[in-house]
């Protein structure tokens, strides 16, 4: 219990400080923070539909957030979740529209599993192997693979093999009815995908904290040399954890396609893969924490739309608050470093 409180302390304080500073900024720029936060909250949680839309936005964030958290726990900075998301989305949509006549209970799992494998290979195969056996920095390789994935989607959609036939807009055909994950609440964006996300979070928690394999991955992340000394296969664990990280990002892409968008649009970025890094950071890489962090950022997103509508506060204010939260989560580490230095100095003075 005490541990949970301790884990919650930093993110909660970070969010509170961010909200307070956000309101100071709003006062300075001439907006009413009470109105703004009230409409932010109503927009995110004010009605069943709003809650549903918030949860719907949280689904891809939970899944990509889990992916990033796994790699962070293993000491690897997979910042290419965006690309793994795109690969998952591409594969999911492709299977979604090119196979007809399958019953849903085969079509949906087929698309999801293929997307997971694709995402896993995208992260595990090249960045994972390169890191494990040549030491290539995974920050660079995952990022670059991310660009490759995004530009690959441009190629596919802009008069490429995946563009809708006879259309003029660069987008894929709509997936078949049998591949659609149905909506949980009508007239909202919330599909049964939310259950996939929640199950995934519990699964990752079990995997990371209750299995030997999870223990090994965490051990590698904690101290590579000690792990090697203890007889663990460090390179294999690196490949597997990066791969697993990609599996969930890929799943996020497919769930989003099958559950919400139903087709792939030509776009620059979904943004989920990048927000996922923030989600994992705020959750301190705890899979259950990822759920709540994802809901928080999703709420800021949906709420900010409503805030524009009813309080006329620019939506960028939500981005400012997001930035402040990240800053204060990171700053607590800074504060600890300063505190540590301070304590050392005091100790020295006391000795002298």
């Amino acid at each position: 219990m005490k541990n949970i409180l301790k884990e919650l302390y930093i993110p909660v304080v970070a969010v509170l400080i961010a909200i307070v500073i956000g309101s100071i900024i709003m006062i300075i720029t001439g907006f009413n923070p009470i109105n703004a936060y009230a409409s932010l909250f109503i927009g995110a949680f004010g009605s069943v539909n709003n809650i549903a839309n918030t949860l719907a936005n949280a689904v891809p964030l939970i899944l990509t957030g889990l992916g990033v958290a796994i790699s962070f726990k293993a000491g690897l900075f997979n910042i290419g979740a965006e690309g793994q998301y795109w690969i998952g989305a591409i594969v999911g949509v492709w299977i979604g529209y090119s196979f007809s006549g399958l019953p849903w209970y085969i079509h949906i799992p087929f698309a999801l599993i293929a997307a997971m494998i694709a995402g896993g290979l995208w992260a595990g195969l090249i960045p994972g192997l390169a890191k494990a056996y040549t030491g290539a920095n995974e920050v660079i390789t995952t990022m670059m693979m991310s660009y490759i994935a995004i530009y690959f989607s441009h190629f596919l959609l802009e008069f490429g093999p995946m563009m809708e036939k006879g259309g003029t807009i660069p987008q894929s055909p709509i997936i078949k009815e049998s591949a659609v994950i149905p909506f949980l609440i009508q007239n909202t964006q919330l599909s049964y995908g939310i259950f996939i996300a929640l199950v995934a979070a519990v699964f990752v928690y079990w995997l990371m904290f209750k299995t030997t394999w999870g223990f090994e991955m965490r051990a590698v992340g904690y101290n590579q040399r000690a792990a090697r000394y203890a007889g663990m296969n460090v390179p294999l664990n690196m490949v597997l954890s990066l791969g697993l990280s990609g599996v969930f990002a890929g799943l996020a892409g497919a769930v989003q396609m099958l559950g919400v968008q139903h087709r792939l649009y030509d776009s620059f970025t979904s943004g989920y893969g990048y927000t996922a890094i923030v989600v994992a950071l705020l959750a301190n890489n705890n899979p259950i924490g990822v759920i709540f962090a994802a809901i928080l950022f999703a709420a800021l997103g949906t709420g900010s739309q409503y805030m524009q509508l009813n309080a006329q506060v620019p939506g960028q204010m939500a981005d400012v608050i997001t930035g402040l939260i990240v800053f204060f989560v990171a700053a607590h580490r800074v504060a600890e470093v300063i505190k540590g230095m301070f304590a050392k100095k005091q100790k020295k003075e006391a000795e002298a």
Partner: protein
């Protein structure tokens, strides 16, 4: 010691929130006291509510979102209608944002950009009493949706002709390589219609002219636009037409650096580099937005496609550079007249 710090922090937070609350109250009363008196006609217009949903580009994109916003502001000022804007953060926001406006009883909801096509189709079906306007996309099977389409090939033709004539007569900064260029954002219809007109216009007045066409595959990367423009300039291009949104800012920069001409797009971009912008191919999204609001207010809402072309000033050329001789301007104006009279028809397909 630690306890004290916690107490101190919580007191600070409390103080701040109280001050926030107080200032919130005071600004609220101010808002209410400034309500003007209204007559019945004005009251009717004021009760007419128009909502605008931007795509992910946001209202400061120097392009169609911004111009739609300007049209909206003009309607608020001149017609006295009540207006409101939501900027979408991600593609999944489109449906909730459109729905929010419709649910709150807005009379006309404007969706900016073809990326909202599916969202408009979906939401317009659920709210048959709300009128919708979509810009740059064709939704033809709904009685409550109006689609604003722009004959941008016509204005492309005019700027192409101007560029062709400049090369032919070797005036201003033009040395007479007889090569001109285009930097396109993506190979999609709204971009290609400009380019198609440009080709036809230049060839019509200057059959031997060579036109370089390249795409950067994005709309938000000025560095890529600049690079592409510099490449074309090194290949001899002396006038470069940018059809690339934010990427095009780099094209104009490159023209400025190498002392050649650029042609702006969508908005009148002369102000970006008055000496180096030859003219701009302006797509008057603001005119379209304003006109449709006005028509809808007066009960003249037209569903289906509404074309905006040279005739109804939906497209047109922007401010012309002082280096362009009057004779060329006269010829271009004559061509514009011929297009309006139907003597010239311009295709929107790019020829290879």
């Amino acid at each position: 010691m630690k306890k004290w710090r916690v107490v101190l922090v919580s007191v600070l937070i409390l103080l701040l929130s109280v001050s926030v609350f107080l200032s919130g109250c005071s600004s609220k009363t101010k808002q209410e006291s400034t309500q003007p008196q209204t007559t019945t006609q004005e009251a009717k217009n004021k009760n007419f509510k128009v909502g605008l949903v931007t795509d992910v580009g946001g209202i400061n994109d120097h392009s169609f979102n911004q111009m739609a916003y300007e049209g909206l502001q003009r309607a608020a000022k001149e017609l006295g209608v009540t207006v409101n804007v939501i900027q979408s953060k991600q593609m999944t926001d489109y449906v909730p944002n459109l729905t929010n406006f419709a649910q709150q009883g807005y009379n006309l909801v404007i969706a900016v950009g073809f990326m909202m096509h599916d969202a408009v189709e979906e939401v317009s079906q659920k709210f048959p009493d709300t009128k919708f306007l979509i810009i740059d996309s064709e939704v033809t099977d709904r009685p409550n949706v109006s689609s604003a389409m722009f004959k941008t090939e016509q204005v492309g033709y005019l700027v192409g002709a101007m560029a062709g004539l400049m090369e032919k007569e070797k005036v201003g900064k033009v040395k007479g390589t007889n090569i001109i260029g285009v930097v396109g954002g993506m190979q999609i219809p709204p971009v290609d219609s400009f380019i198609a007109g440009y080709q036809q216009g230049a060839k019509a007045v200057n059959p031997d002219i060579k036109i370089l066409i390249n795409y950067t595959n994005n709309f938000n990367d000025p560095a890529a636009g600049k690079q592409m423009a510099l490449t074309e300039i090194s290949q001899g291009a002396e006038i470069i037409f940018q059809v690339a949104g934010g990427t095009g800012d780099g094209v104009i920069k490159a023209a400025q650096e190498k002392n050649v001409y650029a042609i702006g797009v969508d908005a009148d971009q002369s102000y970006l580099a008055p000496d180096h912008v030859l003219t701009s191919a302006v797509k008057r999204v603001d005119v379209a937005t304003y006109d449709v609001i006005k028509d809808t207010l007066n009960g003249n809402f037209k569903s289906g496609i509404v074309y905006f072309d040279l005739k109804n000033e939906g497209v047109g050329i922007g401010k012309v550079n002082k280096d362009v001789p009057q004779s060329i301007i006269d010829k271009v104006n004559q061509l514009a007249q011929d297009i309006k009279d139907g003597k010239i028809t311009v295709s929107d397909k790019v020829s290879k």
